[in-house]
Subunit: 207 residues, 4 copies
DNA sequence: AATGAATGAGCTTTCATTCAT
DNA sequence: AATGAATGAAAGCTCATTCAT
């Protein structure tokens, strides 16, 4: 039930998986405590549902957002904007998916790790292609991808939608950082024109 | 007692603060369960001790490692190397200091947040100075600092000392990313010579 | 649940509130330890329930037993007999209601103190009326009431239903003491005829 | 040590024997926790010491205060005044000696019960003698003694030295009640002259 | 699909007590 | 005589889970 998921998301975000009691989860979802077991086999399943659902949606949205046949640098820019937007709008899911992995039982962790790897490899492939095409500096593409992902994924920690910087401004700032970090300097000089590729679900804007 | 800290560090890293039972902590530390209360007033104090101790040491080492009177770019490089080395060697502390903040009671959280802010401001100041000196691209120094810190701090998530990449190789790779991300392109082209400043406690290497 | 109350009454009487463990209480009541919390929010509530329930019943029985419109001396005699009978038959409740007051949290103590005050004032009013009517010696009615209540309430400390003295004999003996203590000597001389007013729930007897 | 006794008296009075932790007792007495065991074999001994010491002193003071060879009624009056004064001045000891008996181990309880019995029998003997001498109404002397002792011992529950009634006024009021309760009416009429026998350790006063 | 009642296992914390110094 | 450190046992309470309805 979606009310359980909503309550679980909020509670795990605030108190952690171990810190969330099922009593409270049920109360917050507006149902009886034992009714939970009509929807989930046990507590762990609530966490697995939240994490997997988020990561699967992340993956499928990614594939929809990033055209497989575009040139590497365009795919790179699209990826950056997609990732940033998605993460700024789902700070709780992002936090849970990172810091509650340790609460997953091995089999569930393996499932999640696989999803995560597929997402990471999407960026790794983009970077690899970009290097092959000569538009990115030669470097270890895995290290570069991990570095960029960590940088981008850290946004929700401090970003506040009501704060002084708009989502768009933060996007632009981070994209500049990321592009500068990996692009071939010459290409980077040209990239300003293309940074502002609009995302399907975000209001279009021009450079 | 240091044995309690060692056990607490490991257990909180593996199972989280809420997931760590004091029975297990005591057993792991090789003492009776109630003996814990001769060293800490309560469970929370164990966490506070671990987090504060780490952050205070981080701050004091930072101040020792980064000379206040050096030019901005040199300070930047020193900061990067210091931060990376410190974080690669303390993956558990790093993880705890980030993802167990929510388990801190308000007063303790305030104390930790202050320490964290002081550390972040060290990098912000460096970037601000670098921009003023014209060696770094104009950008929001806070955003740049947060972005870089997230990128650098993400290393321990995947870095494995027994893995194919050495600590030094990872350092060099990340420093290239970070420098490229914020440096003025011209300056960056010149920076390769200076990236490999050796740290006192790490084996010297050449660029 | 009444089985919990029965077990709690016995255990608190024997070992005191602080001395009663909830493990033992549950065992004595024939339920699991955590089942207690389905009936009481916490340990204190068990005590509050026992004390308040007894005092409220005491008050309501008193009002049923003592007719408000009878002459003072008749009300006095009825009060004495009622109080004695009630206390001889509930030695454990009486003891708890007196000596566990200190274990009550302030709010609960206030509630109980109010009930107790209402009971005491019933006797004070009787004595005041008796003095106004000239059938009792002039004295401080509060002091007299406290003195008599202490005297009467002390019965369960030594009274043994299986002992040599019957409930009725003890009643008569104490009533003589109490009447002599406060009655106007002339009236007291005449009162022997009226001492033995039968109580509804006690076997009728004649003087 | 007398500081331990003082702290124990206060703590047991406030929180009960079971409710008094030895940590707190030691802190209140200004000594280390384990130092207690240099003075008492265990917690129980602290209680036994307090109770026995009080009852033994009560007994020995009683024998000093009440002359064995005086006529019954004079001894009665002396006893009343002695008991009241002693109890009004030691409310905490009195409370403990009554309501902590249940915390005594059997052997210790027996010892205390014996002391208590000796005290009660002093009054029983006085009443018996009074009846034999014809100055008191015929009644069960044990019941009368228990009734009077309960009445008199209840004073400290409500008496407040700073309150509106002085110690002397309360004494006089209670003595009138007690005398009226057991005296032969004719004798009682004559007794007013003799109520105010002064106690050694209380300021002399006149009727 | 939903629930109230029940429960064994576990939680953090405090207990009275011991012991080496 | 005094103490700091240590400890097994027990405290009150919450946990995730089951089950009959």
């Amino acid at each position: 039930m979606s009310q359980i998921r909503a309550a679980g998301l909020q509670l795990i975000y605030q108190r952690g998986y171990e810190g969330m009691g099922l009593r409270l989860l049920a109360a917050e979802a507006g149902i009886g405590q034992s009714t939970l077991y009509g929807h989930y086999a046990n507590k762990q399943e609530v966490l697995v549902d939240l994490i997997c659902r988020h990561m699967e949606e992340l993956l499928s949205c990614l594939h929809r957002a990033v055209p497989a046949d575009a040139p590497p640098f365009a795919r790179f820019l699209t990826f950056l904007r997609f990732h940033l937007t998605y993460h700024m709008r789902r700070p709780r899911e992002v936090f849970i998916c990172y810091s509650e992995l340790r609460s997953l039982e091995p089999a569930n962790l393996a499932r999640v790790t696989d999803l995560r790897r597929r997402y990471e490899h999407a960026l790794i492939a983009i970077i690899r292609d970009g290097m092959a095409a000569g538009v990115m500096r030669r470097a270890d593409p895995r290290v570069a991808a991990y570095g960029l992902l960590a940088m981008l994924s850290g946004v929700p920690v401090w970003f506040d939608p009501q704060g002084p910087l708009s989502e768009e401004e933060v996007c632009a700032e981070y994209i500049r950082l990321a592009v500068a970090a990996v692009a071939d300097p010459l290409e980077a000089a040209l990239s300003d024109r293309t940074i502002a590729t609009p995302l399907p679900d975000s209001p279009a804007r021009k450079a």
